[in-house]
Subunit: 407 residues, 2 copies
């Protein structure tokens, strides 16, 4: 069985890299902090005899050999990058739980039939380079490599440049190695497990999500002299849109509609100037693809409405669409068996967040498991999961990996 205390120590050690004032971590994808986190992990893995390979978009593949190395590996992993003010568990737990499984097997001199593979996917968060899960998506063939390398951050630095600068452009061909199966442990990032006092969520799928870049173009004018009826106020138009969509989501009593405007910027802000140009991002989610279509239509019709009302022009670009995902039933069942066998209270559930498992599920049998996090809070420095829940998650993961690697 795994060592919960050792797992906790590695989590806390990793959190030191890019530590933020309020107890979180800042390791935006492919920054020096992200690179330092990766180097620490590689050091730990090499200590127990694992071999590290890096593919062309910086994904790390860390192998623990089995008895039958001609067979495809059973894989686990997640990501080490964080939000700009992120927590210490989002992504990191899935990676370090995999390390803890490897360490425990090492301690007990266990060699599985199939090899095991611990994977660190690059730029999962999508905060530096949009969209999220871009490198697992590239591995799975959803995004072309050249397209991924050309993606730019807010300062115009490309993914490719950032890979070179951090030394994580590897030579392993994209799509290799193929996997027998993939299991990802993650914190829930929502309130359900905590509320229902469950220690494990067995994740059966992931809701659909769509990202948009939106610009609204009005006209700059004087705040004091311009009659309200003459204004083309891009910010007032944006505010109407945000309020309408937000209210629409709040009034969906099923709770399945989610609308977030995460970024908003005025091009040349000045207190006494009516904002001329506003750019914002839109994140729409739903557990049913058809409902997501309807939600997107709603966005478009509200946009048409503000165009008329505020005399503004709008430009909406859909930059990402990730359909609803259903995970592999056998992988789901394996996780369920592991939880049951330890008597851990669990439930089946859908994920509200995107995860690398979403794209990996296109090329290998995949499932995920969640542990609770305090107040359901994530993407926040205050993110927290207890050492006990982390250990239970890692133990469940360990059992499912061993079962799959030996069958």
């Amino acid at each position: 069985s795994i060592d919960g205390q050792r797992l906790w120590s590695s989590l806390m050690a990793m959190a030191e890299i890019g530590a933020t004032p309020n107890g979180g971590s800042n390791r935006l994808a492919l920054t020096q902090e992200d690179a330092a986190g990766r180097h620490l992990l590689i050091e730990w893995c090499e200590e127990i005899g694992c071999q590290v390979r890096v593919d062309g978009v910086g994904n790390l593949f860390i192998r623990r050999p089995g008895k039958r190395n001609d067979l495809k590996p059973v894989a686990t992993g997640s990501h080490l990058d964080t939000q700009p003010k992120g927590g210490r568990f989002d992504g990191v737990l899935g990676v370090l739980a995999g390390l803890e499984v490897f360490r425990s097997l090492h301690d007990h001199n266990v060699v599985t039939e199939r090899p095991l593979e611990l994977i660190v996917w690059t730029n999962e968060e999508g905060s530096r380079f949009a969209p999220a899960m871009v490198a697992s998506g590239t591995y799975a063939g959803v995004f072309a490599v050249e397209e991924t390398l050309a993606r730019q951050d807010a300062n115009g630095v490309t993914f490719g440049q950032a890979l070179e600068e951090t030394g994580f452009k590897g030579s392993l061909p994209i799509g290799e190695p193929q996997l027998a199966s993939f299991f990802e442990l993650h914190i829930e990032q929502g309130p359900v497990l905590e509320e229902e006092e469950l220690a494990i969520g067995v994740v059966t799928g992931v809701q659909g999500m769509r990202w948009f870049d939106l610009t609204i173009h009005g006209n700059a004018a004087h705040a004091g002299t311009t009659p309200m009826s003459y204004r083309q106020d891009a910010l007032a138009a944006a505010a109407r849109l945000i309020d309408r969509l937000y209210t629409h989501a709040v009034y969906d009593t099923s709770g399945d509609t989610k609308v977030t405007f995460g970024c908003l910027e005025i091009d040349t802000p000045s207190r006494n100037v009516i904002p001329a140009n506003v750019s914002l991002t839109v994140d729409l989610r739903h557990v049913v693809d058809e409902q997501l279509d309807i939600l997107e239509e709603r966005l478009r019709s509200e946009l048409a409405d503000i165009t008329g009302t505020f005399g503004v022009a709008v430009n909406l670009e859909r930059t990402w669409a990730s359909p609803v995902v259903k995970f592999d039933e056998q992988c789901v069942a394996a996780l369920e068996r592991a939880a049951k066998c330890h008597g851990i209270p669990y439930r089946r559930m859908m994920s509200g967040a995107g995860h690398d498992a979403v794209y990996v599920s296109r090329v290998a049998p995949t499932a995920m498991l969640f542990i609770p996090c305090r107040d359901g809070i994530s993407h926040n420095e205050a993110e927290y999961s207890t050492p006990e829940h982390c250990a239970l998650g890692a133990q469940t993961l360990c059992d499912a990996l061993i079962e799959n690697a030996n069958s």
Copy 2:
């Protein structure tokens, strides 16, 4: 009579300093561009024998001696600083029209009884250092000198540091010289004169205005996993507030209520993070002080409302309140006589914008005159007034100055 073509040439020459791609000017207060504009003006004034003095907050006092230099001067002027994407006329016209009056008097060897004073007030726009008209307000004793010098721009640079860096911290005591009267020519910055096909507006007063700094504090959380009912979305709360206040202003059929949110910033924006902290600026205006009180109460009650609805905390700071101003009736009448005498079609009107004349009117008899600007647009690179209107404005100003300086 003044030389309209020469006035136009000086306007175009000044516009070269800090010229922006779309035909405007960027000479934010006390930047190198602002300093370069001032040096050009000083050069022009010294060529015709004027003497330049600078006070402790960078206001320039440029004197053309009269026959009775023991008498208080009759003054004119405005400002040379601009919005970040400002026009070529806002402020500049009032300064260069004064220069043109001096040049014309010089050409014709006219010496007035009283001396004349051309004044350039520092940081009128309020875009770099809030509030607006801060240096004319300091001259008039409304703001303490130390307070003005300590005001900071968005990067934390103080007004005092910027004065030292540009070399415009002068030794003339604040409040000197006292003025016999003050006349300010400005573009209207609104649509009224153009619509009514009038060449001159004789300004009888200025509406009241209040500036606020507002912060809204919610909680960062994951865009995909956080149920709508759990959110404390600071941006959605801001959007509700903006929409409510904007709509309130639009529905005031008198057209006298004006509401502008010029700046809005999310502290750590990320596409898939619910915004935790949003800071914004509020600009409220009305022609009646009691109505402005009611408008401010409305702002406070809408804020109380979003606090409850969105579970956010708010902090509202009123940083500036400029009450409704009534200009001096004799100065107004002098401008009216000058317009009439040239047969220029004019009307009396209130100003929607703040001007240095607002504060000067507290310590000297003051009035203003406006000329039309295209489509009423100002605080925009596209701002435009015709050479003919500029000349008519300068001529009217010239007549009023001479009449006052000789009586």
